[in-house]
Symmetry: C2
Subunit: 328 residues, 2 copies
DNA sequence: GCCATTTGTGGAATCGATACCATATTTATC
DNA sequence: GATAAATATGGTATCGATTCCACAAATGGC
C-alpha cells in the first residue's frame, strides 16, 4: 500500500508538508502543493483512515445497534441515519442483535473498542444494566424508540398515539375493543402502548375482557395466532382490534379473512407503523405513521451534536399522524 | 482511555507480555497471566482495534455497498451477510449509494482507505469502469446479483427463472403476456429477465405486442403507471402480466383493482421476489423465491474464503423456486 | 555438572498518519 | 537597512497496539 512517506518522496517534500497539504492546515507553498496534488492524482493515493484515527482519535464511524434489519421500521431508520450521517462524512458500522438483549451490552463494548465516534441504539428495553453501561462508556449514545434518564433519545409519543388510536375507535362507535401487544419489558411498544389503550378505555368507562388482550412477538404469524385466541376464547367477540404493529395487524387480518369475518364490517382493525404493506393489504389498513426515517435523521443530528458538545443531551419526541384507510 | 501500557504497569509486566497474553502467542507464565487477567477484569480494558489493525493490517470489517436498504431484498441479504460474518468476528460497514452509480466507485475507494478486509457489492450494473476499479483495488470483492468476468459473485439464475415463469404462464393457457421490466443496464434484473421472457415466448412462437412491454423503476408507483400504460395503450389486452419485481406487481395489481379488473380471472399476475408483502396482498401473489438471505450467506462465505486465499474466485449461482399462490 | 533446549520477559522497531517545534526564508514596517 | 511578522519546511515525538530479537532463567539429557 502507498503511504504518505512515499508520496512525500515522490513530491520531494517531507511527510509533514504532505500532511499539511492534505488537511489544509499550516502553510504550504503553491509549488509544493501542485507537485503533491499531481503525485496524488497519478498514484491514486488515499491516506489510511486507520493511522489517521489512531492519531486524531476520530474515526468518522457511528455504530448502530439494532434488533433486526428485517423490518421496515429498522430499514427506514437506518436510511434516515445514513442520509444525515453521510452528509457529514460519517459511515455506519452495523451491529445486529437478533433481538438478544445481552448482545446489546456486548456490542456497546465492541463498538467502544472500535472507537466509534458515537452510537445509535435502536432500543428494545431500558434495563438498568444497559443504562449503566451506556453512561460508563464515555461515548455519545442516542437511543431510538425508548426514553431513559440521562441518555439522549429520539422517541415516538407511544402513550399518546395509543390513546389517540383508541379514542378514534371509540369515536367510530366501537365499545368492545381487543388488543394485541408485545412483552412489556419493551417499555415503548409493550408497556406504553398498552397503557395508552387501557387508560383511554378507562376514561370512557369501557371494559376490556381479559381474553381480548393477547401478547404476541414481532412477526406476522404471531398476530395470526393472537387473533385466533381472541376469537376462540372470548365469550363476547370484540368489534375492533388494536394491534401494536402493522405486522401483527396483517397476521390478525389473515386469520379473520380465513374465517370468513369481514373487515371492517365484522371486526375493525387498526395498528401502528404505516408500513408499505399496510397500504396494499385488503382492506387497506388504518395505521399510525411514526415517520421512522425522520427519527433516524433526528437521531443522527443529535449524535453529531453530542460529538461536538457532549453536554447537550436531549429527549426529542416525534409527532405521529393517523392514516385513515379502510380497515376501520 | 486505558491502554496496554497502563495495563502492563498495573500488572507489573511489560507491554510485550500483556500483548502475548492477550493473543495467546509466545510464552507467558501462569502467574503473569493471572495478574494480567485480573487487571483486565477489574479495569474492563479492551485493546484498541485502531492500533491493532494498523499493525496487523486486518480490520475485521467488511464493507457492504448497496443501492438502498429500503427493500426486502437488500435487508434480507444484509441479514444473511451479518449472520455469517458475525460468526467469524467480522462487522459490516454500510455504504448506501441511493441508486447513484458513481457512488459505487466512490465507496470502493472510501472502503479501501478504511482498509476493510473485503467488500460485498450488491450490484446494479457491470460497467467497465466498475470492474476495472474492482480489480485495481487488491481487496477481495464479491458481487451479489450480477455476474462479471474476473470478479467473484453470487447470482441468481435470472435468465432461467424468467423462462420458467413465462413457461408457467403459457402452460396455464396464457398466450398474450405483458411484461413490466426495468432499465437494461441492470444486466440481471433488466436485461436477463427480459431476455428470458422473450426467448421463452419465441420458443412457443407467441408474439408480444409492443405496448405490452413497459419499463419501470424500482417502486410500487412505477408498477402502477406501467400497468396503466399497458391497459390504455394496447389494442388487445394481455391475459397475464409478468413483473420483474414484487413491488412492480403490487403496483400493477393496485391499478387493476382500481379499474375493476379481476385477478387472476381477467388478468393474471406473476413476479419475482417472494417478499413478505406478496403473501398478504389480495390475491396472494404467485412469485419466484430467490432466497436472498442465503445469497447473503454465500457471499459472506466467499468473501471470507477470498480473504484467506484471494485466488479462489468463484461464481456461485443460486437456485430459485416458484411459489404458486392465487394470482395466476 | 555441563551444554542444549525450553520457557519467560522486556526493549525497541514498526505500522501510517498528525502535530508540535525549531529553523530558514521571504515580506512588510518604519 | 534593521527588526518584526508572515510564510514555508522538515525533524521528531506520538497515538496503541504487535512482533522480532536478545537475553535470562529454568529444565532436561547424558
Amino acid at each position: 500500500m502507498l503511504t504518505i512517506k512515499e508520496i512525500a518522496a515522490m513530491a520531494k517534500v517531507s511527510r509533514s508538508t504532505v500532511s499539511r497539504a492534505l488537511n489544509n492546515s499550516g502553510y504550504v507553498s503553491e509549488e509544493a502543493r501542485k507537485r503533491i496534488d499531481q503525485v496524488i492524482e497519478e498514484t491514486g493515493y488515499a491516506p489510511s483512515e486507520q493511522a489517521k484515527s489512531l492519531r486524531t482519535k476520530k474515526t468518522k464511524v457511528i455504530g448502530v445497534i439494532l434488533p433486526t434489519i428485517q423490518t421496515e421500521t429498522a430499514s427506514k431508520i437506518v436510511t434516515g441515519l445514513d442520509k444525515e450521517l453521510s452528509q457529514h462524512g460519517y459511515q455506519i458500522l452495523l451491529a445486529n442483535t437478533n433481538l438478544e438483549k445481552e448482545k446489546e451490552l456486548e456490542f456497546l463494548d465492541l463498538l467502544k473498542a472500535r472507537q466509534v465516534d458515537g452510537i445509535i441504539l435502536i432500543a428494545t428495553n431500558t434495563e438498568q444494566a444497559l443504562l449503566q453501561k451506556i453512561n460508563a462508556l464515555k461515548i455519545p449514545v442516542v437511543l431510538i424508540g425508548q426514553e431513559a434518564e440521562d441518555v439522549a433519545s429520539v422517541t415516538y409519543n407511544d402513550y399518546h398515539a395509543s390513546m389517540e388510536i383508541t379514542a378514534f375507535l371509540i369515536e367510530k362507535g366501537h365499545q368492545r375493543i381487543a388488543f394485541i401487544g408485545v412483552d412489556e419489558t419493551d417499555r415503548a411498544v409493550g408497556y406504553l402502548r398498552k397503557k395508552g389503550f387501557f387508560d383511554e378505555m378507562a376514561a370512557h368507562t369501557l371494559i376490556v375482557e381479559e381474553n381480548w388482550v393477547q401478547r404476541a412477538v414481532f412477526d406476522i404469524d404471531s398476530g395470526h395466532q393472537a387473533m385466533e385466541k381472541i376469537i376462540t376464547n372470548s365469550t363476547e367477540k370484540p368489534t375492533a382490534v388494536f394491534a401494536v404493529t402493522d405486522r401483527l395487524a396483517v397476521g390478525a387480518m389473515s386469520y379473520l379473512k380465513q374465517n370468513g369475518l369481514r373487515i371492517p364490517e365484522d371486526i375493525a382493525m387498526i395498528s401502528i407503523g404505516a408500513s408499505e404493506m399496510s397500504q396494499y393489504v385488503d382492506p387497506a389498513l388504518t395505521t399510525m405513521d411514526y415517520q421512522n426515517e425522520l427519527a433516524g435523521e433526528k437521531a443522527a443530528k443529535q449524535v453529531l451534536s453530542l460529538i461536538a458538545d457532549p453536554s447537550g443531551k436531549k429527549n426529542v419526541v416525534l409527532d405521529y399522524r393517523l392514516i385513515i384507510r379502510d380497515s376501520v
